[in-house]
């Protein structure tokens, strides 16, 4: 506990946050230093001092760690949250539009193919038309050369940068992560991504963010490289839904949730079905076991004493 207190001291000094703990702690340690071996009463006091030091150190930890962990995001009532709830597919379609127009310039989604969108957000014709808009490198051809062709359903969603180094170079050293699994790759992913995208605010008094970074309380550390991307009416929805910041955030997170967990609907149906069936099987098995054991459980043993 005292060792933990030392570590928190070092952390606190590094983060320059003021605290009353330093003078108190040194006072307590000096008190402890005075009493060496001896009676149990002295030892009890030393233990008490260690405990108080630990507690005080923890209070400084709280203030140092707050920005490090980021502001805890609230839980939003997602329409696909229930045990038998499906995705809102209209929302997924709008979310893909937001991704394509706002996010795709920096973020890849290299695990999703155009064919995955068929039957989820677009018809086959629509998806084919979307795929045909991009140019894909293919080959080699019969002459041994690579060539470009319009995209097909089987192609992956296009990547904005050739590799990670190019991505970092174009974004001030920061790598815009691939979004294929982002809602599973972050703790409380769906709520976190929504809170992050819609949570750009002015920093608190006393916090200054260096040039090139932006303040976001939900981002661990508070300084994120991505600027605020969702602004009212940045996108014009095909279905006429007003494209407010919150609406676009909800739709894009629905899309990203689907991208990370496309099997969710089938999984929920399977889970419900098999849990129900296995419960019936459990009742049947319990009855059968008790039936078979009833023979032994209802036997009588008689002690016959012969004089």
């Amino acid at each position: 506990m005292v060792g933990g207190g030392v570590i928190q001291q070092i952390l606190r000094r590094k983060l320059h946050s003021p605290s009353l703990a330093t003078p108190v702690r040194s006072w307590l340690s000096s008190k402890k230093a005075h009493v060496e071996a001896g009676s149990s009463g002295v030892r009890a006091f030393a233990l008490l001092g260690a405990g108080v030091t630990g507690l005080l150190s923890f209070s400084t930890v709280a203030s140092a760690d707050e920005a490090e962990h980021g502001l805890a995001c609230p839980d939003y009532p997602w329409p696909h949250d229930g045990i038998l709830s499906s995705y809102d597919h209209a929302s997924i379609r709008r979310g893909h539009q937001v991704y394509q127009q706002v996010c795709a310039s920096c973020h890849s989604m290299s695990l999703i193919s155009y064919r995955d969108l068929v039957g989820v957000a677009y018809t086959e014709e629509e998806a084919k038309a979307m795929a045909a808009e991009i140019e894909v490198v293919d080959g080699p051809n019969d002459e041994g050369e690579m060539f470009t062709r319009p995209g097909k359903l089987s192609d992956r969603l296009p990547q904005p940068y050739a590799n990670e180094s190019a991505a970092r170079f174009a974004n001030g050293g920061a790598y815009p992560p691939d979004l294929s699994l982002i809602t599973k790759a972050r703790h409380n992913g769906q709520n976190y991504v929504f809170a992050l995208l819609t949570g750009y605010r002015d920093p608190p008094a006393g916090i200054s963010i260096r040039e090139g970074l932006h303040y976001n309380p939900y981002f661990p550390g508070g300084a994120i490289a991505m600027p605020k991307m969702l602004n009212d009416e940045a996108v014009e929805y095909e279905d006429g839904v007003p494209a407010t910041e919150a609406q676009m955030g909800k739709d894009v997170v629905s899309f990203l949730s689907w991208a990370a967990e496309p099997e969710m609907e089938e999984r929920k149906l399977m889970g419900f079905k098999w849990i129900f069936l296995l419960s019936l099987a459990l009742l049947q098995a319990a009855y059968y076991r008790r039936l078979k054991w009833s023979v032994l459980k209802s036997r009588k043993l008689v002690l016959d004493v012969v004089n």
Partner: protein, 82 residues
């Protein structure tokens, strides 16, 4: 204390007016519920204003205030969205 109800939905009757972001609107309407942490934050801002060392900041009070607002907005927001 009487708080006037603020409507944060985007109904058709406001179609000619520019869209109002429901989240910002709800955060404004939740401010009265979170007056205590807001006052704590403002008190902290006053204390930090005169600081020359650059070490003082109000992250704690800021987080407390926004956590209160988020808790208030969270359950209500999606009802205002499509």
């Amino acid at each position: 204390m009487f708080h006037p109800t603020i409507w944060c939905d985007s109904d058709d009757y406001r179609a000619d007016v520019e869209v109002v972001d429901p989240k910002k609107c709800l955060e404004e309407s939740c401010k009265p519920k979170c007056v205590k942490p807001l006052l704590e934050y403002q008190a902290c801002v006053k204390r930090v204003q005169g600081d020359e060392s650059g070490h003082k900041h109000c992250t704690g009070q800021y987080f407390d205030y926004w956590q209160c607002v988020d808790k208030c907005v969270g359950p209500k927001l999606f009802a205002e969205l499509k």
